[in-house]
């Protein structure tokens, strides 16, 4: 059964089309790449799937639920319950320590406090000892791993990763992809990695190639 179903999805930014997907689906538990050059609508599609950006046209079904038929609070709840997101900029909440950042993700997803789940998620990314560290005291690599742990601590059905490797060297690119795949497998989650990084092609075979529809973009949500 598909976890993601997209039907007739179209979106334009400032009059320029950035997204046109007649039909696309991803089966539950599969790992897929969302490939395309900068400005091809990868982030727009990720945001549309997550209920953050309403597309101009089309339907997005997530686990059988029409995301954009829900009201704002309903979309927030569905996102919290089903999706874990890894952002390109990672962005951990600086006022909270590592453990609290993971607790925050569970709380925002409407899940009960579970110190064991948080500790396990950190252990799985090799940061069990950094539970009480503040984000500013972490290396970039550690932040990346905490961001992945935060995305999986809610046991999501779908992990969305937006350009998780574009700023990394080859070695770290491989490590992050391995970690994402491993965590998705452990959680039994569907993994969707949006990237223009050609190095990822060898690791994940399922893919949706997004063409660049407009010659020029303003770089907004694309």
């Amino acid at each position: 059964m598909p976890l993601i179903e997209v039907d007739g999805l179209r979106h334009a930014i400032a009059g320029r089309p950035v997204l046109d997907i007649p039909r696309w689906s991803v089966e539950a538990g599969r790992h897929s790449l969302l490939l395309g050059p900068s400005g091809s609508g990868k982030t727009t599609l990720i945001h549309a799937l997550a209920g953050l950006k309403r597309p101009d046209q089309g339907r997005v079904l997530l686990d059988g639920q029409a995301m954009w038929d829900l009201n704002a609070a309903g979309r927030d709840r569905l996102r919290g319950r089903l999706i874990g997101i890894v952002f390109q900029t990672l962005h951990l909440v600086p006022a909270l320590d590592v453990g609290q950042n993971l607790h925050l993700a569970r709380w925002l997803a409407g899940l009960p406090r579970d110190a064991r789940a948080v500790a396990q998620a950190l252990d799985r990314v090799g940061l069990g000892a950094r539970l009480s560290a503040k984000p500013e005291h972490l290396s970039q690599g550690e932040k990346q791993r905490v961001a992945i742990a935060r995305a999986v601590v809610t046991a999501p059905k779908l992990i969305l990763a937006d350009e998780p490797t574009s700023a990394l060297d080859d070695e770290n690119c491989g490590l992050v992809l391995d970690l994402l795949l491993e965590q998705a497998t452990v959680c039994g989650a569907t993994l969707l990695v949006a990237t223009h990084d050609e190095r990822t092609r060898a690791r994940i075979t399922d893919r949706l190639e997004l063409p660049k529809l407009s010659a020029a973009t303003d770089g907004h949500a694309a």
Binding site: R77, I85, L96, Q100, L108, R113
Partner: protein
């Protein structure tokens, strides 16, 4: 993790700004609390000390001065009046009760008041130990006088000439303590009560001893020692027999005699309206401080919302509803408001309590910080309301944030 925990984490991260905002609010709230406490207790005290007295009659002069000196014992009297006129007032059919007062001396700064035992009943005082005075040079002392001077029944003391401490001691004419009054929280606690004859006798002896000396008229109120046959008293406290007396008696006294009649109610209203201008100014200043702190909280939250746009967008992406994000900002404002108000209440009550314990004038007035006026909850509501108001614009801003746009910009 919960909204308050998250709010606390953010407040802790900007600890200096948070502390300054809380301190600013606390100063404003504390100022208003002090004014409310002192104002309420002062008015209660003034009303309590004036209770049961419809009219004060004394020598011509300032009516307010007459009331302050005779009723509250905090100003010098306007002069003396002949005893015969005081007796005539007592016999007036419009008068239910007339209690004479003769002032002139003091003991360690506490006034010695020559009067009759009806004064004790008029002031709703009761004897705690011993008895009321009966013979000249016997004294029944107020609770505060006994406590401050360590007086016990049977002790003797000499009065000082004049109403303030430091006057010449009346040697050879000691008073004997025959009773101590129970505390009333009123002016009677600070008085030494004795028969009028005592005052006359002391001053007869004083003038005999200092024959030819010149004295300040205000410091010699109950002049009984002059060779003139007429005795004098300082003032008379009157109770009306019927309401009609209020319309007739003051006017008759003020126009038809050398006496002056002053109504405690009218003079206190005048006094409070005069004092009110000052307290209104300070209260306005307190409100200004509270408003400034609300503005400061607004600026802090507004800046925080700008600085934390990505934080808030990430939280939304993690599943936070818009209401939850707005609630976070409201919680931060309310936490600052609650902390500032609580600190302000502690500061205000603490300052008044300390003043009541260590400032002699405040102690004499019975001022305490351990009283909680019914208007205080409104202060809490005001502070909470202002905090919510301060958070409103940032909360709305956070509510309406385009999460996708913020995340895309990074």
């Amino acid at each position: 993790m919960n909204t308050l925990g998250l709010a606390w984490a953010y407040l802790k991260r900007s600890a200096l700004t948070t502390c300054l905002n809380v301190a600013l609010l606390a100063l404003g709230v504390g100022t208003i609390v002090v004014l409310i406490l002192v104002g309420t207790q002062l008015q209660d005290r003034l009303a309590k000390d004036a209770a049961g007295v419809d009219l004060v009659v004394g020598a011509k002069g300032s009516p307010l001065q007459l009331i302050l000196s005779a009723l509250y014992q905090i100003d010098i009297p306007t002069g003396n009046i002949p005893l015969s006129q005081a007796q005539a007032l007592a016999a007036d059919p419009l008068v239910a009760q007339a209690v004479p007062l003769a002032l002139g001396d003091s003991f360690r700064g506490y006034r010695i008041v020559g009067t009759d035992p009806a004064f004790v009943a008029l002031r709703h005082a009761q004897v705690a130990e011993g008895r009321l005075w009966q013979a000249p040079m016997e004294a029944t002392v107020g609770a505060q006088v006994a406590r401050a001077a360590g007086l016990k029944v049977g002790d003797q003391f000499n009065g000082n000439h004049g109403l303030s401490a430091g006057g010449a001691v009346h040697e050879g004419m000691p008073y004997t303590v025959v009773g101590i009054l129970a505390p009333t929280g009123g002016v009677v606690d600070r008085l030494v009560l004795t028969p009028i004859d005592s005052v006359w006798a002391v001053h007869d002896a004083h003038h005999h001893h200092h024959d030819g000396d010149e004295h300040d008229a205000h410091e010699h109120q109950a002049e009984g020692a002059q060779p003139a046959p007429e005795r004098e008293v300082t003032s008379v406290l009157l109770r009306y027999r019927s309401p009609i007396a209020a319309a007739l008696l003051p006017r008759r006294i003020n126009t038809g005699s050398v006496l002056q009649a002053a109504s405690p109610a009218a003079e206190m209203t005048r006094l409070l309206s005069l004092v009110g201008i000052g307290t209104d100014t300070v209260r306005g200043f307190g409100l200004l401080l509270v408003a400034s702190s609300a503005l400061s909280i607004f600026v802090a939250l507004y800046n925080a919302t700008q600085a934390r746009r990505y934080d808030l967008a990430v939280m939304r992406a993690l599943g936070a509803t818009r209401t939850r994000i707005s609630g976070l900002l409201l919680a931060e404002a309310l936490a600052m408001g609650a902390a500032g108000t609580a600190l302000g209440l502690v500061l205000g009550h603490g300052a008044v309590e300390l003043a009541g314990r260590f400032v002699p004038q405040a102690r004499d007035m019975g001022i305490t910080g351990l009283q909680f006026p019914p208007t205080e909850p409104y202060l809490l509501i005001l502070a909470a309301g202002l905090s919510v108001l301060a958070a409103l614009v940032p909360a709305i801003q956070a509510y309406r944030t385009d999460v996708s746009a913020v995340l895309s910009r990074g």
